[in-house]
Symmetry: D3
Subunit: 334 residues, 6 copies
């Protein structure tokens, strides 16, 4: 079990980092992937002076926890999205400002640059997050899409994120897009196009989360193999399809946790992700970073689940072989 | 084979109705479901004086073709949708007008009322079409949806379509929503909510098209059984999933016909729809209307396909039994 | 297409043989398997004087139809069953008599002997039918079965049917049990035990009907292969499972044709029987007798169905190869 | 892991309760569901004076075991069944009496009333059991059923069990039918009919055991969801299908444990029941009662198995979430 | 149905070409793919003077048959194989000579050059065939393979076939390897390596036959897509897996047609090849050549089968669409 | 968990037995199955004097390990194989000698006799191994096999192994062929033929290893049931298919561990073998010998894997029931 296992704090933002760190330590986690919301990792305060980060670091150390990455999903989402009321709830007030759509996008982009700076100041090199998408809402081509418009969507993404990644490069930090519906990349085809749009520059890679591929019937091991050089960080999260001819894979505009959805997120190991094959693929590509549990399961108690998930990862993660076995067979007894 | 088989003309609008009617007759169709675009069935001209409709009727009669329904999908889409550039291409210029979003919606609603009037004038009682949707673009709840907003979406639909259906009622015409992604209803759950939103009034039913359910893994026979009293018209169209772990069921923002899509429309009988079970369900509920082939298959030549589809429907459609078989067994030889 | 295709008349007993023969001939059948009920083949009248059989034969000849077998399912059922009210409806009044249970069984046995005599008088050598079963009702072992009682059931079957088969042997006629739930044999295990119970005597074989195996998830081709020397006649009938997690394979005490059943009979080619593999197995074992369509489908109009079934059999039945193909490859060009 | 785990003692009646209680305690069970046979819970002695029940309770307490329910399957079976020799082995001699069929049924009904009284005296409110069925043996409609007779079967059930449930109501005890082949209810359809027959009165509910649904291809989670308000108690038992084209799902009149059966009972977690989905469904409906392991696996040593089953339940049972997860995402960092 | 359908004559070499041509014409084939064995197309005689080829051409013309390709599988096999007794039966005596292994290989190579010359003389540009393989027998790596030896196998293939293809190039003829077990290429991986070994030169392509991929669980449409520029000719042949836990996919050293094999060849449309997807793939890559039926089915009479196969191809082959369908939707009625 | 669990040392021959025994003991194994290569069990030295075997035994005892069997796979392979360069690497130099093919085979046969003698001297009665095969390379019948040659292959096997088994019989030792591709027996059909060829003599049985059946889609439980009286020893090893339409089940001449193979060996419990059913079958046939883990997984670290495998076997192996459960139900409370 060679890789550290961390807990992504995004779904625990109702708890203070102090409370959460104590719990996570007692559960046996090796570290935390801090979310940039709640009081877990506040970008503006992080840049406001050295005390804030020093205190965070001390808090982690007191609990014997490491930190290899932070998660800036919410603000990142606002960089490329057509802004609507829902964004008000996920970005800080100063990013929302007057809510004028282009203004929100620009301020979100600036905040992402600051996030790179704060990460560097904290001594880490990986920021995970979302990008948003100018074209997600044109998912189903009716009224018939103008596909030149789709092309322009990828271009707009590149124009908005290029300058952000410049700052990441300057700070020695890498961004990991969590490939995910509603983002510019959510599957094989769109990930290929996204990486091409941004010229496959090194500062922009992937925070791989298999739970977003499973409901699309996509093969996580194959994804990791194809995009091997851009797998910068890995989330451990699972999803389960419950298709019975009545429940739609499109989920019926129902919230997560509703019984009639055709799929839902579940605690790792309880769903359709083939983690065994995923671990083998990660072994092949030489991924040595954290396995970060993003725990979300509307049918399971959260603290029980976090521990169940940790135990699952511990028993599923294994190192690759260093031997060719039949070779051993060739050592004859003479 | 008791039901008439018609051809929906929407995908043949590059041909004049005169040319198309000749072809359809020679293929052996029983009638046409006229699309309200191209020169097939122009609502404004239909209401402009009796000659237009008389000439259409004569053209059909000369070809031995009947007409039981018309299709007003494109204008209907604009009634509830958030309007964007794509709608300009699908609505008549006078409906588009200056393109101001609410104005387009209101003019589209008026045109739908006119469509009911034109249908009545033409002597038919069924108009099929789309409704559009104020909430489709919130399909995936991220940023997290405000589900009260989703509820308001159904309510807005009812407010916009109620007055339209009033005119349908007055004209003795029924509307059949083609349950379809991008519409207010696209699966079991959303159809239930839609019918409830509009108080299950009789003027608003369903033009059932199984090709929109198959990619969602939904059971067409079960759908027909559940919504038996609202199945007013039936489209025969098929879709095929081609999931291999690399192609997403969400279709990757690719156009229909692209090789990398996870599913596509195909000629009836070449896909995943279980038409045998669908026919049995239609028999059970007593549906006696047309089976209207909406032909769309980006990998097959169109005229060959229309004939292949017609032959498929002819050999798949059968009447229900009138006997209980074991009863015959009880007639002993005494 | 080397084998004759006949129609089993059992499900058409509401029609006179005269009417049915005309229909069957016009549909293109090669012959009829006459049911021993209705006016199709009345055993008592057949033994009452030569005219009856001569007239039947003439009626068939006038319609160009052959007869290779008759079906005596209903009376046969009463030979081993615990008799109840339901049997009154399926046996002739003189067999039912006063309805005393053992008396009915004995009279049914005598009638089966007469059936062999009548078949011989008609010039045919195959009688198909049911046996009934003393133990069918103990299908599910609760209250826990006394398995010695099950053993005695097979023995009772042999005691009741042995004397009947003696008459069959004397008349040069063979009996073909239609392996079927409610009979002494309904699957592989029980067929093995049944044939052993009756000492594998030649006069007792099988009328193979795959529709009774499909709902049990049994492999028809494997059945034909295992019991090759006892496949005396073949019914063509189909069944379809409709299991969706709500419908039970045990069929819920619902009548055939009810929507909620987990399986039902369907017209040949519309169900789960793999007829292609069945034909290959019949070719291997050298079965050259009729393929007799027993048509029963509560969701399809009967006359349409009979023709659909005949066309299905014609295109599915093929002769075996007489060549080893790679042998042809070995004829080199020198 | 919020629910207590008990062991149903019915399959351990070869052991005295004293021996069994010691074992169960040492294995780690929270309690016992006492069977009304062996010396585990004798209804007649329970009503014969307070000592019997006090001693039973003390025996449980000495072992740290609780009791939430008793199981009266065997006598219950005789209430509606057509009585035959097999019932002699499962009912007490005084219930069997002279074995006259109606007499046995009536005495069994009286004993069920006494069982409610004894349960109340013991301080518990749940009695599980079987009902028997007047119509089970007509499972396969041949000779063709008279379906009015089937209707009368449900009515007879209601007439026989109504007065029994009156006593349950009076005693403040509820009956839980274990839905099961050979009982009046064994699947969705028959459970609906059964509950309707008895007017959905509250005193009559379900002891849900998924092992009886799995061989019928039924969905246990869906069952629990549909009959949520009547799920009064839950058995944990499993079954596995071993269909290979030769083994029948009807099980060939073979005893449990025979190799050629198409399905068999197995230790929980070793079969086809989806316990994960079942737990989620139980969470949704708010079931908080015991999970009672009814252990039966003819291929596994019993004491090993009971412990294996207990460990399986402990790691599979989990509490529901109390949070909407994306809500946590909305707590932005401002 | 745009592509011509031919019959490959290799499995009919027991008939003279004269007899076969008459049959094929009467069946309705468009042409023949002549095998270079029997009297169908004798390479040595073809090069012996102009009369031979003129007479062959006249024979075809008299029957209204075309010829687009010839098949030289048998001699080709000997070019790279380790020669054993089995090759004596498939090569002409003058190629076999004294049977010395290297001598046979060299003479086979010369005969392949002559085959190109004869094809050119006959006015055709396509020769199909096998290559043999120096390494096939090391299929399963035990005793452990020396994988450098495998590499040398590809190299040896290239050395032996390079000079042959030089002659093909000079004659303006292309070779189509039938990818097939026992050849240097039999699946995706080995086809990639084979084409690389021979530097992807144009003279060496593929005669695609899906029946050799199906038993390996390979996707024919994906194969055609990947090797689009090397699909020079297409065989229509099918194979069916019959895996039931007892029959091995490796086929148990049994001959084709044996019941216990895990797979076998079957008439087109009766097996596991997805011809619908194959046709769509051929449409995409623009393949316009013949569909050549190589008929082999040990369980079906040959002449019936050839006609059945032809009918199957005629109804399965269809041309691609020339339209983007939603485009038609955009032609609004204004 | 009644059966001892051993580790087969063949894949650990890079370690001295001393090192390996220490590791195995610390992991918790009950014993070792010693490979006849490396320094684990050297046949020539074992026969060279008593010290060698006494020291081996002491080494095992010091580690608390037992030995029930030895593995002589490599030399056995050379007995029937057509010898090539690959065998040089797997046999001792004195068996290889000058490498002349027949000489190698004869010396390998003599060494197998010595192996029986050495086993007896060591006090054990089971030698596992391979046989080689004269016909394996004719796996796919092209050029068409002469099937008389296949028959002769089985005969040759019997002629070569008969005298070896004579020595086994004399020594009171049994041979267990590991049924495996490249051996004379690798599936059901070939195992039947092999056992018949050698007259089902008791000295020749099977070392059953399910990992060689899984890639052939064969049923391990059915194999154990059919060959129950010849299952002398059991290996625990697993294999996993990874078929995705691109990877061939024939494995593309790729080495184990290559990503593009269609199947590979994996650590027990991580693959397609149904060990639960296998254990039940072993219970039925009364197999009481060791479960010997042959550990080979190119994607998992070896020492972690051996421990993971041991834990898997411990929790999967269980003893059979000694009770008929419903019997307990019959003990009524009277």
């Amino acid at each position: 079990m060679p890789r550290p296992v961390t807990l992504f704090t995004g779904q625990w933002a109702d708890l203070s980092l102090e409370d959460l760190a104590g719990k996570a330590a007692s559960f046996g986690f090796d570290g935390l992937e801090l979310a940039c919301w709640g009081d877990h990792f506040e970008v503006d305060r992080a840049l406001g002076g050295p005390d804030y980060l020093r205190e965070k670091r001390e808090l982690l150390e007191q609990n014997g926890l490491e930190c290899w990455a932070i998660g800036a999903h919410l603000v990142g989402q606002a960089v490329c999205d057509p802004i609507d009321e829902r964004h008000r709830a996920i970005v800080p007030p100063e990013v929302w400002g007057d809510g004028e759509r282009e203004g929100v996008r620009l301020r979100a982009a600036e905040r992402m640059k600051d996030t790179a700076r704060a990460a560097a100041a904290f001594g880490i090199t990986q920021v995970n997050g979302f990008t948003g998408s100018p074209i997600w809402h044109q998912l189903y081509s009716f009224p018939p899409n103008d596909f030149a418009e789709i092309d322009r969507g990828y271009q707009e993404f590149a124009e908005r994120w290029g300058p952000i990644i410049d700052v990441f490069d300057a700070e020695g930090v890498r961004f990991g897009l969590e490939v995910h519906p509603t983002e510019i990349a959510y599957d094989f085809v769109t990930t290929r196009r996204t990486l091409e749009a941004i010229d496959r520059r090194e500062g922009f890679g992937i925070n791989f989360d298999p739970s977003h591929l499973a409901p699309q019937f996509l093969d996580s091991a194959a994804f990791v193999t194809e995009f091997a050089d851009r797998i910068y960080h890995v989330h451990v999260k699972d999803a389960k399809r419950r298709l019975d001819g009545r429940r739609s894979i499109l989920a019926s505009h129902l919230n997560f946790g509703e019984r009639e959805r055709g799929w839902d997120f579940v605690s790792p190991g309880h769903g359709d992700v083939d983690f065994e094959e995923l671990v083998r693929a990660l072994n092949r590509i030489g991924y040595a970073g954290p396995l970060s549990i993003e725990w979300e399961d509307s049918g399971m108690e959260r603290e029980y689940g976090a521990q169940d998930a940790l135990a699952f990862v511990r028993r599923t993660d294994f190192a690759p072989s260093e031997l060719a076995f039949d070779a051993a067979m060739q050592k004859a007894d003479g």
